[in-house]
Symmetry: C2
Subunit: 367 residues, 2 copies
Amino acid sequence: MEAKRATIKDVAEAAGVGVATVSRVLSGGSASPATRERVLAVAAQLDYRPSALGRNLRQRRTGGIGLLVPDLTDTFFGQLAEGVLACARSAGEPVVLGSTGDDPEQEAELVGMLLEQSVDRVIAVPSGGADTWGPAARAGMTVVFADRLPAERPGDAPSGPMPGSMSGSASGSTADLMLLDGVPPPPPSPPVLPTGVPAVLADDRAGIRTAVRYLRGLGHRRIAFLGGPGHDRRVAAFREAIGPAVDEDLVVFATGSRDSAYAAASGLFQSRPDLTAVLAGGNVLGEAAVLAARELDLRVPRDVSLVMYDDVPWAELCSPPLTVIAQPGRDIGYRACELVLRASGRRPRTVVLPTELIVRGSCGPLR
Amino acid sequence: MEAKRATIKDVAEAAGVGVATVSRVLSGGSASPATRERVLAVAAQLDYRPSALGRNLRQRRTGGIGLLVPDLTDTFFGQLAEGVLACARSAGEPVVLGSTGDDPEQEAELVGMLLEQSVDRVIAVPSGGADTWGPAARAGMTVVFADRLPAERPGDAPSGPMPGSMSGSASGSTADLMLLDGVPPPPPSPPVLPTGVPAVLADDRAGIRTAVRYLRGLGHRRIAFLGGPGHDRRVAAFREAIGPAVDEDLVVFATGSRDSAYAAASGLFQSRPDLTAVLAGGNVLGEAAVLAARELDLRVPRDVSLVMYDDVPWAELCSPPLTVIAQPGRDIGYRACELVLRASGRRPRTVVLPTELIVRGSCGPLR
DNA sequence: CGCCTCCATGGAAACGATTCCATCATGGTT
DNA sequence: AACCATGATGGAATCGTTTCCATGGAGGCG
């Protein structure tokens, strides 16, 4: 019953040829039309499928590409994953998935697992810093980052300050400074990005700037930022957009969990009842903000205006529908996959995809 | 620079022992304490990692487990995937992911890909029917279904009737009948489920029944069901709960896409303005229902009551917050993974996980 | 007519691991 | 003192594929 799979040897035997010939026929090598046809027929009849194991072992090449995301429950990463999957499918490459939970340790462990599987092309939304990704690259992995860049300093989790704590170093991390290209009042978009680091990112800077300007235009002055893990670049952009006089109490961080996000949002609203607008750095944060506001009887947008980074299907369902900074999650994944696949040539450049402010109903004029 | 990975041979050489000894030490075989220590030291120093390729080839065993879901953008499948990932990680097994888009053809293709990768344990939310999964099983795959069962009849997509069309055969599909165990007015929960089919399912029947009773209790009589691909069991449960006099026009199907869901919902509201309650078979359908209702100026719950199958984080964000039938997506994934991992012994039984009606604000009394 | 080239073809090595089996040393028993 | 059981150890086969290389035949050209 359990018919074990036919091997190339079986095919060769049945077709009366050598295994080498079968291999050549199947991988497009030269062969006489007669044998080619015969081999093909036999292979089809035996339902022969070459084993990726054998092939990969021989070629010392990997099967598949790895995909590491913080949390598939977050719609954005789901979109990103769908993009990667779509591209990988069209290339016929399997995708090995890992969820890091925004934990550098788990991430490192998963990288090890991929290494063991001989998966040497990886698309990652990084949680850890150089001490994870340095070794990975050194082990010969082709890594493309998506949505974020890893923290610069070894051992530095990119989320910066811990949950509930208010703000961090006054001028952003090393990575952020580098991102901003060292020009304090930099020219308008497109932003200058670190070269040599293959990555696909959304144009956070432009998105955030647009949102801040929009809020400013509505009269808001006390604008808060609600950040999560991996939002360093967004925070930096926020600081840049706000200008020199950033009210540090209005920059708050949460970890990846929904509870933490809610706590951060609620804490922010309670400690600073004078704020008039909030910019949430991701959809989980946005959700938390809506929830916290409702819990505290703050009406949106009457009492507080809200902009969420990330467009998700339910943003339209909220009442009022949420004004968002949309980023093309699916495209980010797709492009990252393209990059990692054709990384054979010279190293791929970083790609920046545009964001878009979608104005719905969660922002109103200052009153 | 590109230090290629150390092989077992390198370790053996460096430790001055044979490869067999290294293998034994590393996989817990017998060895003298002295050599064991030496080998371990050398292995650590060389940062040796056994190649899964070599191992799997030799053992003719698969690396990893496959996971096939319709769409990672759907939060529910994201939760399910997280569950699988959690369990797989703790077992040290890599997960190969595929997204089927609810398309039997893509699904079959992905199964082929997994076969090629020698991945012979699969967790699937099936889209195709027996003509996909029969061959898969025959090829020696251990398959555990999650959330759904495949259609019984070959070539029969489990979604039954096509989008927009109204209802199907008057008494559910063969699969559903089998599910109901052939007893037309069956005893209350727990439902009798098909044995021998390894699967992890939510107790749709109880969930739907509870929801229908709840709506009935509020006075609703014209209750509609909005179904999507793979919702056969839910439809069947709905029919059963409603009783013999099912208004077939109130049972509507959409395909997996959000557009289709919206179209179905909108069409339903417009063609049957007399309905007073809607039961959405999944979160995408629920989202569509909310959107369509708003578009048509139907207020929830004043004009129409709404229950959504699936609890998702944003259900609470809606206003009013959505009353839902919660199913443990993460647990379903986790259990399915457990099942597929310890499938070595006798065949695993089907597992049914409880659902829960979470009453929030989207249902009101008939007026 | 002979030689050289070219192409189709098959044998065999290699990839990196596990595992069977033979070998050898050791220590205990008769 | 001879023998046997036990345990550590290394060699070699094996898994399924690709690929190098040798072989042999056919055909073209000098």
